[in-house]
Symmetry: C2
Subunit: 689 residues, 2 copies
Amino acid sequence: MSYILVTGGAGYIGSHTVVELVNNGYNVVVVDNLVNSSYDVIVRIEVLTRKQIPFFKIDLNDHDALDQVFKLYPIQAVLHFAALKAVGESTKFPLNYYSNNVGGAISLLKVMEENNVKNIVFSSSATVYGDATRFENMIPIPEHCPTGPTNPYGETKITIENIIRDVYANDKSWKCAILRYFNPIGAHPSGLIGEDPLGIPNNLLPFLAQVAIGRREKLSVFGSDYNSKDGTPIRDYIHVIDLAKGHIAALNYLFNHKDNGLCREWNLGTGNGSTVFEVFNAFCEAVGKKLPFEVVGRRDGDVLNLTANPKRANTELKWKAQLSINDACKDLWNWTTKNPFGFQINNYSWTKFDSESLTNYDRLNTVRTFNGKFEVSISNHGATIVAAKLNGIKLNLGFDNLKGYLREDNPFFGATIGRVANRISKGDLLINGTHYQVGLNELHRTSLHGGTYGYNKRTFLGPIVKTNEKEKETTMEFVLIDLDGTEGYPGDVETKVIYTVRDTGVGGELGIEYEAKLLEESGRDSTAVSLTNHSYWNIGNQPSIEGTHIKLVSNKHLESNPLDSTPTGKIVTSTDLDSQNSAKLGPDGPVFDYCFVTKQQDKLDTRNDELRVVATATHPKTRIAFTTLTTEPAFQFYTGDGVDVAGVFTKRSGFCLEASRYIYNPKWFIPLNKGEVYGSYTIYRFENF
Amino acid sequence: MSYILVTGGAGYIGSHTVVELVNNGYNVVVVDNLVNSSYDVIVRIEVLTRKQIPFFKIDLNDHDALDQVFKLYPIQAVLHFAALKAVGESTKFPLNYYSNNVGGAISLLKVMEENNVKNIVFSSSATVYGDATRFENMIPIPEHCPTGPTNPYGETKITIENIIRDVYANDKSWKCAILRYFNPIGAHPSGLIGEDPLGIPNNLLPFLAQVAIGRREKLSVFGSDYNSKDGTPIRDYIHVIDLAKGHIAALNYLFNHKDNGLCREWNLGTGNGSTVFEVFNAFCEAVGKKLPFEVVGRRDGDVLNLTANPKRANTELKWKAQLSINDACKDLWNWTTKNPFGFQINNYSWTKFDSESLTNYDRLNTVRTFNGKFEVSISNHGATIVAAKLNGIKLNLGFDNLKGYLREDNPFFGATIGRVANRISKGDLLINGTHYQVGLNELHRTSLHGGTYGYNKRTFLGPIVKTNEKEKETTMEFVLIDLDGTEGYPGDVETKVIYTVRDTGVGGELGIEYEAKLLEESGRDSTAVSLTNHSYWNIGNQPSIEGTHIKLVSNKHLESNPLDSTPTGKIVTSTDLDSQNSAKLGPDGPVFDYCFVTKQQDKLDTRNDELRVVATATHPKTRIAFTTLTTEPAFQFYTGDGVDVAGVFTKRSGFCLEASRYIYNPKWFIPLNKGEVYGSYTIYRFENF
């Protein structure tokens, strides 16, 4: 197993190329100093590609840190994107540009040489040509056009090109592809990744997008007196997806070039020039309205025409841009509407949750409501609710770090439970007439909460964090790909857990949406899914749940087989609730561990059902009211009498309200078939009364 | 007080420029990573200029260390020499060149910018022009000749030029002089500094010098079929002193250019081309013999003619090369014969002696004899003999570090004693009829050993270390400039202390030569000088001198005034010596503290006198024989009965044999007059019997 190292993999072009690399079967390691990008990009790439991407926050000038990455992963080739890239800024802070771009490249090349990694694809730029109109017959620009950058940014690019050529000249075993980009535009069609410039965008389309979404007043067109059909300058705009694919083509070219090294430049452009007005009109069409603009004076250093001659790449790399400016505008607008402020989410933050890991796969993701009263922290490990707080009061049981959750005596604190929640007698799962033996983890008698390696033990991808100011809510979407055969369950299942942290004015609430489907590529036609969350709540701000008043919507629950706690198939009436379906929890009783049912189980996806209050709990000491609402037909109410986390938590430290399906029993069971969707929605609401 | 920071100040051109800077009244700080140079260069510059030069061993890529220097010294301008400079090597290790040269320059410029230092003189190279013969009419090469280097070394130089131009373009308050050197040759006429290439020299004259001195067999002439008068290529050779002066001219130009910034390139060349054979012949003439050579094939990348057009520097900088190729050859040969192996002395090493100082002014300099038996360590502080060892046995009293020597109770251990050794009654010094009051430091009654701030407390410059394989000796020359008025003594006196560590076959010896003169610029006609060394010897490898047999050449000593231990003017006979002038030293006696006289005091410079054995000491336990030889007319023999260094040394831990003049008394005193030289020579020899 070998890896492609992508520097600047969290940047605009880098991120799109990482997606293409993964789609083409390459393993990728990303390093990025994140000065101009966000780790959220990596998270989104992981969700998009359903793959974990090893990531290291490293500045390329840090030789030793970079070397460490080469020691950890067998690197086969480097795609070197990392660079500062704003032309205007480069004239103001040239030394930052030289230090970051040239210094970084030198350091990278040294580490590569020291580790005997000699394949590199370098992100150069059409800027190296400078004003190609200074020559006769150099539009469209071929690779042999003499270079002559007119700003420090372009100088850094040509300098790095020269360094790479000198490295190759000395050691002909290097394989170096120098890719000169023209004007990349557009975004990933998924709307998950795209360009996210900090500050005022320098480029036409990102600026236009901000005008369209209402962040900028109007577009300034720098000169309409050029010698083009409409007076505005001509550029070669290339969809970032096409550009990303150009890197795959270049990389494959290097790998297929087996006999000796090479060092060669390729233009990546479409070969077709478009004027500013043409692009402006295409984007207005994508948005569906005419956007405001103003023609102002020419900008220093702008020239009439910078169109690529891409023939060398077309023929040698067998690569050609496929997408149109209209495609790019559509994708950009999709990205912009879905992420009006790019990756920036103010009320979201994360820290590493697995402090012993070199990677960031397991993080603790925290979102606070807009009113600042309610805060929830979710770990990637088990998509677990690690902490929920109302006005600073902790509402649930949990540990501070991953180690706690790995304890043998951890009673599923806060975890997502799946693939099938609760117990399956003898692990005998019957789906559409076929018996499956699923993992037994209770004295080889029952399968509990998905078995030994249930969802509570898995590392979820994500979260994709989005915020909706109008609804005063922020969502964190986690994804798990649960492969066929794991713990005996059939079929590849994609499970999404979408947490919504919502401001309710007087308090806050946490919505949990589950969605699961059998993946197309899965070899199975049906499977079983039943999901819930196993949080232990304690609203008394004290060690015990004692004093909590509880009121349930129903006093009917499934009858348990006393041998293994699985349902007998009968529904019985609780004897521990009063006539109002209420109870006051004492130090030792009443003891609840029953699956209460509120309605018939008749749907695979309950999300369109009424969202009903199924339980309320209050505590006189803290005056916190805790309401559980769900679309689900049942909920397990458990007073935590079996909790025994040595030295930390004892019995009745917290209670569970696990909105869910009926506990598995063939008579109630609804399978998940190919093409169907499993879904549910539950809210835990916390307010002071 | 402001400073010029010189990067690469220990290198060939840098070191010569530092000398010129100091000669022109500038204060200099040097940083150098010493990868291709030696700290000895700095020591020699200090001796040459009689100034301490703050030096920091820093790699320019170490931003924080460099920043620290800017915080410590108010830097006015930077002369940036530091670079790797071998064209051939640069094609083999291009990344080292980019990292060191380009990376280093970027880091330096960033630190300058951060510290608001915006004056720079940059060492560029004629190499940036590449092959100027590719154009019509570009020989001699003017500054407007298009650049186009043909190797990574030249690429690094043009890249740094571009970076500097970009920095200036953004901030017009910078003043940047870009100096393009042609072919520097020659050495400082003092023979103290010169070019010292490691490995095989790349350049014509250093190679030739090594042929002349016998380190290389013959010169290879790369092609004699060029279109020149003798068929060899033409270059513009410039004496390194002229080149150094060009930097002073450029610096002054920057400082005089007051109204705004500037960034400009200047060629530093003579304007006259010389062929390889012309230079070869000039050097043969300097050496006085025909040197062997062989014509071989042309070298890749060599071109016919690289001669400067230096008119811009001539007119704008008002600088013009003055010295000829013959001057350069003479100076190079002088440097080569005086330093056949450059700065490389294998049996010499140094460590910092003042561990708390940021500078290296006070070092501990250690030389070992060729036979490895005898080793001496001298500190710059007091040019003090800190340690002498025979076969690992310590022979003297001393401390491990500077702190010990600064103790109040340090009885002048190992120190150089001056300006006048021993006691002057009432500090009343009579020189040619004039009374001088010199520093009283013994209960305001006598001046002892030069006063409170005697030579033992001064930091000496040097050592200049040279080795003579034939004589099996290595010399360390220290210099002190003792200014008029210090401790009341009249006149600026230059004092040299030259230690020679010599292999005697069965053991080793330490020669001490003293030389002093009144400096020309001194306002005085005469002064007093009397120098000695105050080592305490102990050859018994035990805490006390007990058991040492001592035999003196004379039993006559000066009579002491019991009131203040100054001489009465009478010479008396010792009562503590036997008929052989011998004594065996016991735990408490005999007690000696007398100035024994061996001959009349009749000369200011005794160095041409007979070198006589004046004392021998042996110890039966170690079987070490210690012989003192001197040209001096007297010696103080002291059994150390006053030693009391709390917790470290007690009385009779060591004895002194201070070869010297008679203790000061007007009737014996010989003044040092202008134009005269004070001198003496003493040897301490240690051998096993």
